[in-house]
């Protein structure tokens, strides 16, 4: 079962940032979407893979509630954070969230699931620094685009895979099996 965690302060944003994953996955697998404020330990326990979805540019609500994501530290699950989700993962593991305004298509370079270079859609006011026990997998210029925990299947991507890069989700889901 795949758990999508919404970080959206505004319900209308879930159509843009959670729904694309839901529509893509629900045809073939069990998937459930839960807002981070309503998430229970049981929901995390039941999931095989967890995707923490992004949110809109004006939305910084999640930044004031990083403590509600402390479950990430001890969850023995595959987790991928998208944009705000990646910032949250970085913060939970002691990394810094930094101002970094990026809107539009950028070229991502590095090695993410064997892809070395690809165009990606970014939409954020904040970026993050790679936490101590994480590797930097890819970047675009000075902006970190992908990180991975050194030993656990925990990923953070600053760009939005749901726009033209769903292969990232596919590869991430493949990691677990």
């Amino acid at each position: 079962m795949i758990l999508l965690v919404s970080t959206c302060k505004e319900k209308l944003h879930e159509r843009e940032f959670v729904e694309p994953y839901m529509s893509y996955l629900e045809k073939t697998v069990d998937v459930v979407a839960i807002h981070y404020t309503k998430l229970k330990i049981d929901d995390v326990a039941k999931a095989d893979c967890i995707v923490i979805c992004g949110t809109g540019l004006m939305d910084n609500g999640y930044l004031e509630h990083i403590e509600r994501f402390s479950w990430i530290r001890d969850a023995n699950k595959s987790i991928m954070g998208v944009c705000s989700g990646a910032q949250i993962i970085a913060a939970v593991f002691g990394g810094k969230i930094v101002p970094d305004k990026l809107i539009g298509m950028v070229s991502v370079r590095g090695t993410l699931f064997d892809r070395r270079e690809f165009p990606a859609y970014v939409l954020h006011q904040n970026g993050f620094e790679t936490p101590e026990n994480f590797d930097t997998l890819a970047a675009s210029g000075k902006s970190i685009q992908a990180i991975k925990h050194k030993t656990r299947p925990i990923y953070g991507v600053a760009f939005h895979p749901e726009v033209r890069n769903m292969w990232v989700l596919e590869k991430f889901l493949g990691v677990n099996t």
Partner: protein, 224 residues
């Protein structure tokens, strides 16, 4: 939240406004950019002036910005429109009908952020077949107002998108690779009725202009 809805008159922008209202957002006004450039990258042009009639049908005011439609300069016109909406109506957010155009989305997103406005595109990345079926199920009366790709021909101009049309569009996607929702600019639409409207829009007089698989259904007269 008080939102303004950017509308072109077509199915995507109107359906996005409908989603916003359904989710409990207050539609304060419609916003529309009337481009004099038929090849505008940003703003869809066929019959865009009819958005004023749609606003009337929906019982909301509309703010209009005319633009020459010069690439990138037309963004200043959009910025001006959003700024005016903020000052006059106290809007906090904007809805758009953007589905997959990164070009459109990133530009609107940037302007909204600069102005401190929330930006919502509820149809972002929507699956085409799902979108078409929802339009029908939710009572949207949509007609095709322009075509620009083979094999969409003159027969499509003014045609209502019903179950049969949806099946045909999906088949054309299979055979020719066209987007069944016109995401590649293959066709444009106009909404004559939907749950947002208190009255239907009647097309009184129209004409077709068509040559080489590109054409427009020009509405000359319409009313409520």
């Amino acid at each position: 939240m008080r939102v303004a809805c950017l509308v072109s008159g077509g199915k995507d922008s109107l359906y996005s406004a409908y989603i916003a209202k359904k989710e409990g957002y207050e539609i304060v006004c419609f916003l529309s950019v009337w481009s004099k450039n038929p090849d505008s990258y940003m703003f869809h042009t066929p019959n865009v002036r009819l958005t004023a009639l749609q606003a009337e049908a929906a019982g909301v005011p509309i703010l209009v910005q005319e633009t020459e439609g010069k690439k990138e300069e037309e963004l200043d016109d959009l910025r001006r429109l959003l700024q005016t909406a903020k000052e006059r109506y106290g809007i906090e957010g904007v809805t758009t009908g953007a589905v997959g155009s990164v070009y459109q989305a990133s530009r609107i997103q940037g302007i909204c952020l600069d102005l401190g406005l929330w930006c919502f595109s509820p149809l972002w990345q929507t699956l085409p077949e799902k979108h078409l079926r929802r339009l029908l199920a939710d009572g949207f009366d949509v007609i095709v107002t322009s075509v620009a790709a083979y094999p969409l021909d003159e027969r499509w101009l003014g045609r209502r998108i019903d179950e049969v049309a949806v099946s045909e569009l999906l088949k054309l996607q299979e055979e020719y690779g066209i987007s069944p929702i016109g995401e590649g600019g293959e066709f444009e639409t106009f909404v004559t009725d939907c749950p947002l409207f208190n009255q239907k829009i009647r097309i009184v007089k129209s004409r077709k202009e068509y040559a080489d698989h590109a054409g427009t259904f020009v509405v000359e007269e319409a009313g409520l």
